[in-house]
Symmetry: C2
Subunit: 749 residues, 2 copies
């Protein structure tokens, strides 16, 4: 192996895949069958049971290693801070779901308790998530619209609109939980990887736009009904602008003040991040001030400001989910289950990497599923996590979900004991807080020009997902985005740049012929590189490119040859051609036959069959009796498979047909650098037969080219000159073994 | 280049991509920008205009080269045969669309006339297609159900049910035409490649099942209403079995007789294909016999048999399409436009390959679009092609669309002149003929076991498409199938088999370490092969596999090192460690610090910074004061990119993060066999910086390994023994430059 500095010297036998297999025996590796996997799955021993139990109850793991002295203080501080934020966000996000404010508070309590036991992330704050709340809101307003009658559902009789909505939200949350639990049980947590960064970015930007529009009515103090379905955003804007003159000036001023102050203080928090021990909790401060002001001046009575209103000082009794609502909302609940989980998992992953512990996607699904089922039973809003709240929990020193549990207790205390203090809080303040917090999500728009410059398909995914989510609604938009994303993957491999390779003289390196000047293309050989997997969507494209590259259509040549052969047979029968030692000789004056015999078209596609003729016809020589067949100017075709990472059934069939056509016009075929799994697959799919043999595989391009050179030694210059003179003197020369195109400089004398 | 027989000898400079670029200058190739493409597209000269006009009117092309003497006879024979089949199929397929029988006849006339001028295929027979007719039928029965009121559409007032249905069908056909014309104008004919063979096979099998079920009511003479939407097939079966006792025995017997005879004669046709001049037109014969028998015994009056009934002896006046129906059916029309075109194009392609002429997908879309718009205006059923009818047209000698035009004339004559002869034809006969013709489509089920053995994902696509199309209906089923198909492409590249490569001793060949016994893995080097494109769905998978392959998590190591450094700095500050010429020496008794300093976690992820320390720490040596950092036992990591055919933005970010982590723990990185387009893309996306340089790219694996060997000469055996003893004697040895794992046999002495 040792070589002089900067020299690459290799001497080894020339290898085809077959000869390599002879020299180097492969270790037999038993691959597990489906049965083995099933067996392994159902095998049960005490260790497995213990591990399974532990992984189902992660609290046992982290409780054992809890360091009270070091972690407790952080958890308490974090729990209190997170709790305050959770109350505020719970109130605000329940407005997004078109529900009375306290159902958002429930989301900061019930699900958190279950997640405490089942969750594997130690830092996320479980509870309401604005995008999810908005999606719930779309369903709630569809089934129980502001204007017009509610959907015809048993159990709605005699209830107020808010109570009906609470039941819809509770059942929907329950169903989301069931979907998540089922996905966790089926171990399909991996599906979230289909939600790529680009897709999520476009989707959340659209969600931010929806949230912004939906909060306008609170900020302006207008009475606009909720819309759902495609183009809902247009209808809402239409109604808002139609009523804009009846804006409540107190709401507007309060909102603007809150927005400006919160925005400014957030900027300060960001700028002096390193110097501040904890960020200033400006939202909480502004909320308290707003409560005070609203109470002092009696905003509700005196100025018609819409306030949070009475919060019940106790929990409501649990309810069974409504099966009729399940049926109405099943199609909506599935994307919500996925989005809710995907966001929580993404946030959890960031913290797990930062703090170096392991989270388990499937266990997270189970945890969220159980949390939402439990929450749904208590009429809580669907739970996921909010990035901002989780950031508070982590940055204020939270080490484990004990912080989360403490935040839930804070929420409990406020709900039960001092909830009445929040009664005078104007909804416009909550709306303003929500809007200010959209900055980060809306700012994702700045990715677009970057993506456009760097990766056109990704940019298109972003734009389509965002526009579709804005215009068609979040659920349909997500589906459209997913579709576009999947098509983009297919598209990237669908029209790849095929290239004809040639040799960098004096080396074993082959590069695109067009890229270099001093590059040597062996005579009579075409090296075609397939730069992507081959599958149904690009096999025809490759076949076209291959025909372009070699410069002739092998099927057409084959048919012409077979037709010529028919003619020759006919002429021999008629005695106008006879077979001599020198080949075919014209003996009669033959008539020019114009009409083509079109019977038996299929026969023309069969291999050329000389068996009933006394001689073989040399297709490279000129044929007698004006029979002409287009020349084939290559003797070997090499396909570089190094980038072919998979091949499907359609591609396999198409490839076989294409290769056969070349074999039948006497072009020798080589496939190089093919993955051994693909060779195995070809073998198992009966790819090989009398015409296409396993001996066509060579280890590297250079191995194949060396092999071809052995079979077809390149002509020296003097040989070439002779060849040229021969051709000039004797049009019928049977030696004419190679055709040269004008492209190759070597042929110009 | 010449080498001895079967030897592979190469001597050349060692190349990284950079040094190769220095030695071999690339030709500058200007790539067209989007602007150039637009310019080219809008450029207009007389030649282009002429070509465009010609390609829009293909008839001009083939009429010029029409050989009257040779082709005319074939076209006439073919036209007459096809016309007779077209009448029969037109009647039968209009039953699938739940329309009166003559609207199917229109489909064999109006669209054909337009296709004659605009179509590029010379052999397909344009007209009704059973699957498309069934899809039209689903929409027709949804808007105008058998039971209950019709949809609330202006223009329905005062019309009979059949007239309403005819309007729905006409408007739908018109809309399908508009979609096809639009797709043709936008040049998106390529979308049909997404309908892979597997998908189409599963879909048409499901369609055959639907057709079979829908014809049961005619065969049994029952009065079952049409259903549409998901699970329609179940409802139909339910109703059929509920009524099975009221089966009309005359219908049943007639059907069975027709089915048996037609089936038997078709088998004979197939078996004696080569001996028969034309196949026996058994369907036409049976139809005529059935007409006669039904008329003679007055089946309709005497036995309550449902017959075709009065066929109007003239065309109906053209109608304008109904915009309200457009709105109601837009979602249905799009998949129909695609399916109708896709089938016709697939059939046309088969004949174009067989007869060696060119068809143009986009022009075909335009032709079918115009045909359907014209047909729709005359209340024709939506047109595509039926495989069986096209086979008749081609096999009876049809050479051009003149045969098609003649078949249209035959249909015209029958419709206008002798249509009344068809009046007594029982519908059960038509149903029986349709059912017998399903054999080929239903037999596609036999592909399933073949696919299961050969290509699992393809098999799943087939089954899912088929089941979804049966249960959810053809439109939804097609959408589901498409989704599954796209996911399958992603899935194939999502969990590829990564492998660690090693060297076949004495060669430049690298293979999977686990596959061979006598394989040499260079010490301290890991060669990791990425066997597929890298994109959002598999980048995390690869990062995980890479960490598994090298055996350590680089980020964790980096953090441990940075933590150790913090400790060392603290100890030096306290004076318990001092810097001597020999490195760090312990000078005091240090306390064991338990608590970890968790502030500034982000800093731990930064590169190790020795700038404020008087010495560099040798991480391979043991550290003083019980500070321990896990060892890193490789010095170089080589990534084989030969199968990476593309890389997207998410993957690029993830890859960069992963590579940085390795660079920061002093592992040298190499990427080999990377496509030059990918290198260019990485450059344009600012992939390279101070830590990841362009010099990491090498031409081949062997180039990189030789380069690594130069930098890290392998130890000889005696050196190894020394190294080993050193380690044993002196735990602090700073020489300890390489760690060996027990896996490598070389380290076992």
């Amino acid at each position: 192996m040792r070589t002089p500095v900067n020299q690459y010297v290799v001497t080894r036998p020339l290898y085809s895949e077959d000869s390599f297999a002879d020299d180097h025996e492969k270790v037999y590796r038993k691959h597990k069958t489906t049965l083995d996997h099933v067996k392994q799955f159902v095998t049960c021993d005490s260790k497995r049971v213990k591990n399974a139990a532990l992984s189902l109850l992660p609290i046992v793991g982290w409780m054992k290693m809890y360091r009270i002295k070091e972690w407790m203080l952080g958890d308490i501080v974090s729990g209190v801070s997170t709790g305050l934020v959770a109350i505020l966000q719970g109130l605000a996000y329940s407005l997004l779901a078109s529900l009375p404010a306290w159902y958002g508070l429930y989301a900061a309590f019930f699900p958190v308790i279950i997640y405490f036991f089942l969750g594997t992330s130690r830092h996320i704050s479980v509870g309401a998530f604005p995008v999810l709340s908005l999606m719930v809101g779309a369903v709630v307003t569809r089934l129980v619209p502001d204007e017009g009658p509610a959907a015809n559902i048993t159990g709605f009789e005699g209830l107020t609109m808010d109570e009906q909505r609470a039941i819809v939200s509770a059942s929907l949350t329950f169903l989301i939980g069931i979907f998540q639990l089922a996905m966790g049980a089926l171990q399909v947590g991996f599906i979230v990887i289909y939600l790529s960064d680009t897709l999520v970015s476009g989707f959340t930007t659209a969600a931010a736009v929806h949230i912004l529009i939906s909060q306008l009515k609170f900020v302006l103090g207008l009475n606009v009904p909720g819309f759902s379905g495609p183009l809902a955003i247009i209808y809402i804007l239409e109604r808002v602008f139609a009523q804009i003159t009846s804006t409540n000036i107190y709401d507007l001023v309060t909102s603007i003040v809150v927005m400006v102050v919160v925005f400014a203080v957030k900027e300060i928090n960001e700028r002096f991040k390193s110097k501040l021990p904890v960020p200033i909790p400006i939202e909480v401060i502004m909320t308290i001030i707003a409560c005070g002001v609203s109470f002092a001046f009696n905003f509700k009575e005196n100025h018609g400001v819409d306030v949070v209103g009475k919060i019940p000082d106790g929990f409501e009794a649990p309810v069974a989910p409504n099966l009729q609502i399940f049926k109405e909302t099943a199609v909506d609940a599935f994307p919500m289950a996925v989005v809710g989980f995907a966001v929580a998992f993404a946030v959890a992953k960031v913290y797990s990497v930062k703090h170096d512990y392991v989270i388990d996607g499937n266990q997270e699904l189970i945890a969220f599923g159980a949390s939402n089922i439990f929450g749904g039973a208590f009429k809580s809003l669907a739970a996921s996590t909010a990035l901002s709240r989780s950031a508070v929990q982590e940055s204020t020193g939270g080490k484990t979900q004990i912080a989360g549990a403490l935040s839930a207790i804070i929420v409990l205390v406020v709900t039960l004991a001092i909830g009445f203090l929040l009664e005078p809080l104007p909804k416009s303040v909550l709306g303003a807080v929500v809007i200010v917090n959209l900055k980060g999500m809306l700012m994702q728009v700045r990715e677009v020009p970057y993506l456009w410059r760097k990766d056109r398909p990704d940019c298109i995914i972003w734009i389509v997902t965002c526009l579709a989510s804005i215009l068609l609604g979040l659920d349909l938009g997500l589906a459209v985005g997913l579709g576009v994303e999947l098509i983009a993957v297919v598209f990237r491999t669908q029209f790849p740049r095929c290239s004809v390779l040639a040799n960098i003289a004096g080396t074993d390196i082959y590069r695109d012929r067009k890229d270099y000047i001093n590059i040597y293309e062996p005579e009579g050989v075409k090296i075609f590189r397939i730069p992507s997997p081959i599958f149904f969507a690009n096999i025809d494209f490759f076949r076209g490119k291959l025909v372009d590259a070699v410069g002739f259509n092998p099927l057409r040549i084959l048919r012409k040859r077979n037709k010529a052969l028919r003619k020759i047979r006919k002429l021999i029968k008629k005695g106008e051609l006879t077979v001599t030692s020198k080949g075919l000789q014209v003996t009669g004056s033959y008539p020019i036959e114009e009409s083509e015999d079109e019977s038996n078209m299929e026969e023309l596609d069969q291999p050329v069959d000389f068996s009933d003729l006394p001689v073989q016809v040399n297709w490279r020589a000129e044929l007698p009796c004006n029979i002409s067949v287009p020349p084939v100017d290559i003797h070997s075709l090499v396909l570089d498979f190094s980038a072919v990472s998979f091949i499907d059934i359609s591609a396999l069939k198409g490839l076989k047909t294409a290769l056969k056509e070349f074999v039948r016009v006497d072009v020798e075929l080589y496939i190089v650098a093919c993955d051994s799994y693909i060779i195995e697959k070809l073998k198992s799919c009966k790819f090989f037969d009398d015409e296409i043999k396993t001996s066509i595989f060579f280890l590297t391009l250079h191995d194949a080219i060396l092999h071809i050179h052995e079979l077809h030694p390149p002509l020296t210059v003097s040989e070439k000159v002779n060849d040229f003179h021969n051709k000039m003197q004797n049009g019928n020369a049977s030696l004419r073994s190679r055709e040269k195109t004008s492209k190759e400089p070597e042929t110009k004398f």
